[in-house]
């Protein structure tokens, strides 16, 4: 198992380096960030001064080498825009994004599994058809469009929930979280739902497909032949089987939740790292983009490991070593 984890980490280190290189050189081709930063009144000498100060006058290979050597010491460089360590900027905004993504994940499970179960158990009922139609809509509607509609309806028209921002936070172990305060929770609902919508649809579909398939299995009929009640059959026999694909997919989708938070955070002015990324892209803040991607790759490696472990817990037929080898 430790060999398996070690191998995973090695692979991801390689990916991180490759990723850093691609983005590093790619961003170099795109544009000169200095054009974005300079204030209009600066003359040519001032501009060159900035270029030198940011180290952008040196050959790109030299810049990359400098980046790699300091990255090995845990320093991913300073943001051009903020003048702060890029990693620090990201870590500072990470809790907000992770919180949003976790709540969205939770919503996906809480809404998705029961609805999917229902649709799977009674595939021909009108309610199930409505659920499935809804899930296709949820699948098809662009996130940004849904986001602004949510604001329109729940914040502007009904005035039930705040439109933007994160609201009040409290520190838990030094990490600010908003779900523990009423105000924070109110701020969380809309963006989290916006982010979750796609995943709710996904979970509904997965659960429904899984349920339909599991319900056809002989072991369900056998369980009925044992005289088990419907509750026990659905709650234990069906659930435990469909949880395997659902957990696996959701785990992997957690990454995409974080990625799609770019859109949601922009619309809801949620102070997370997705918003930081899109702003950094717009401003060519290379160190932040590179650091973000390395962070994401690292995060995904961790998520994948967690999913693998969960998977082996849920499905007795799988043992960890088997998959890594």
């Amino acid at each position: 198992m430790s060999v398996f984890i070690l191998r995973r980490l090695m692979q991801s280190a390689l990916v991180m380096v490759a990723m850093a290189a691609i983005v590093f050189f790619g961003m170099h081709l795109v544009g000169d960030p200095v054009d974005m930063f300079v204030s209009p009144d600066m003359d040519q000498a001032d501009i060159e001064q900035v270029v030198r100060a940011l180290g952008l006058d040196r050959p790109i290979l030299e810049q990359f080498w400098a980046f790699v050597t300091s990255a090995l010491q845990g320093d991913l460089g300073q943001s051009f825009v903020f003048g702060q360590p890029a990693l620090g900027l990201i870590l500072e905004r990470m809790p907000a994004t992770l919180e949003l993504a976790f709540i969205a994940l939770l919503m996906a499970i809480v809404f998705g599994i029961p609805l999917g179960l229902y649709a799977g158990l009674k595939p021909d009922s009108p309610v199930s058809r409505t659920i499935m139609a809804g899930s296709i809509l949820g699948f098809s509607l662009p996130t940004f469009w849904v986001g602004i509609m949510l604001i329109m309806v729940f914040a502007v028209m009904l005035g039930w929930l705040p439109s933007t921002g994160r609201g009040e936070t409290v520190d838990v172990l030094g990490v600010p979280v908003s779900f523990l305060t009423l105000d924070g929770l109110r701020h969380l609902i809309l963006p989290a739902f916006n982010l979750a919508l796609l995943k709710i649809s996904l979970v509904i579909r997965l659960t429904r497909a899984g349920t339909r398939e599991v319900m056809l299995q002989d072991y369900i009929k056998f369980a009925r032949a044992k005289g088990l009640g419907r509750g026990r059959i659905v709650g234990v026999h069906v659930m435990k089987n469909i949880l395997i694909p659902v957990v696996t997919v959701l785990g992997l989708e957690f990454g995409s939740l974080i990625a799609f938070s770019v859109v949601t955070e922009t619309i809801f002015a949620w102070p997370g790292m997705g918003k930081l990324l899109i702003e950094s892209i717009q401003q060519l803040d290379r160190p932040v983009i590179v650091a973000y991607l390395m962070m994401i790759v690292f995060l995904f490696v961790v998520i994948n490991l967690v999913v693998d472990v969960l998977y082996s817990i849920l499905d007795p037929r799988v043992r960890l070593g088997d998959r890594g080898a």
């Binding site: 692979q11 296709i136 809509l137 098809s140 398939e213 990454g255």
Partner: protein, 317 residues
């Protein structure tokens, strides 16, 4: 005469038992016919397929059926900007769905936008299928280290969300239809590679493939005549879903400002432009392209759903 137990709609929860209880009937229909019968079992799917056909026709014939060429700046005038549906231009043409912020006839813009969105979706889909299929087949057929290596790359690619990959790529590549297709292909090929490999692995282990190998048939022949045809069904299913996904992705990227150039808007760009007008009361600028995009994606998804149900052998017992 149709066999009751092959109707997906009629497959009951107790289908396994029923199937066992039912006598086997000789297949009297051609696979295509059965496919069509199965597919049209759901009126919703049929409706969606019909809708999709109409959408594709519109996209194909946009230049001939649009009232205006929305890309011709000699015709489009900002003087006509933001006119409500049914208004008349200074030259006397009627804007049935109104005009957008640049004075384009929305109906024409939507027709042309469909053309771009669909071709972006389909082109990127086809290219991604070609890339993914080659890689997936190579992996499945080569086996061993090559396979492990390829599939690791695929796994890694899959673990990175498509939207993120496309976002970064477009930031590097810049705007344009070609760029976005490249970005979408790079973001999506891995799905196909995985699908093809999975099906190909199953097929490769079948006796007939072994038999073909024993007969001394060439690699190419085995791959193309025996393995590939069996990967087609799952590919079609993944392909429809991914095409819808690509169209939505393009819309999102346009919203984030890294999609297509402004003057030749796709549906996604029309919506993201309309996004500005969401609160302004000029509903038509946001709503009509939105409806068009929604109809497109929803019909593709419904068709894809039905295809999956029909082509999925596991639900077909």
């Amino acid at each position: 005469m149709t066999t009751p137990n092959t109707q997906p709609g009629a497959t009951p929860p107790g289908g396994a038992a029923l199937a066992a209880a039912m006598p086997a009937v000789p297949p009297v229909e051609s696979p295509l016919r059965r496919f069509l019968t199965d597919f049209s079992a759901s009126w919703l799917a049929l409706l969606a397929a019909l809708m999709l056909a109409v959408i594709i026709l519109i996209a194909l014939f946009a230049p001939w059926i649009s009232p205006q060429d929305p890309y011709d700046l000699a015709v489009v005038s900002i003087f006509d900007a933001r006119l409500p549906p049914g208004s008349t231009s200074m030259e006397g043409t009627t804007f049935w769905l109104g005009t957008d912020g640049a004075g384009r006839d929305l109906l024409s813009a939507i027709f042309y936008g469909l053309r771009i969105s669909l071709s972006v979706g389909v082109m990127s889909g086809i290219l991604a299928i070609i890339v993914g299929m080659s890689v997936g087949l190579a992996a499945a057929y080569a086996g061993g280290r090559t396979e492990t290596l390829i599939m690791r790359v695929v796994d890694l690619q899959l673990s990175l969300p498509a939207v993120l990959i496309a976002l970064i790529l477009l930031a590097i590549l810049g705007k344009g239809v070609d760029k976005i297709i490249i970005a979408l292909v790079i973001a999506q090929w891995a799905y196909y590679a995985r699908t093809v490999r999975a099906s190909a692995l199953v097929e490769r282990r079948r006796e007939y493939v072994e038999a073909a190998a024993c007969l001394g048939l060439g690699h190419a022949r085995i791959v193309f005549r025996h393995i590939l045809p069996n990967c087609v069904a799952p590919l079609i299913v993944v392909g429809t879903v991914q095409t819808a996904h690509a169209i939505a992705l393009e819309a999102t990227l346009s919203f984030l400002g890294v999609g297509l150039p402004l003057t030749e808007p796709s549906l996604g760009l029309l919506i993201s432009n309309g996004f500005e007008y969401m609160l302004s009361g000029k509903y038509w600028i946001a709503v009509f392209p939105g409806v068009a995009l929604l109809l497109t994606i929803v019909s593709i998804n419904i068709v894809g759903d039905q295809l999956r149900d029909v082509l999925n052998p596991r639900l077909q017992k």
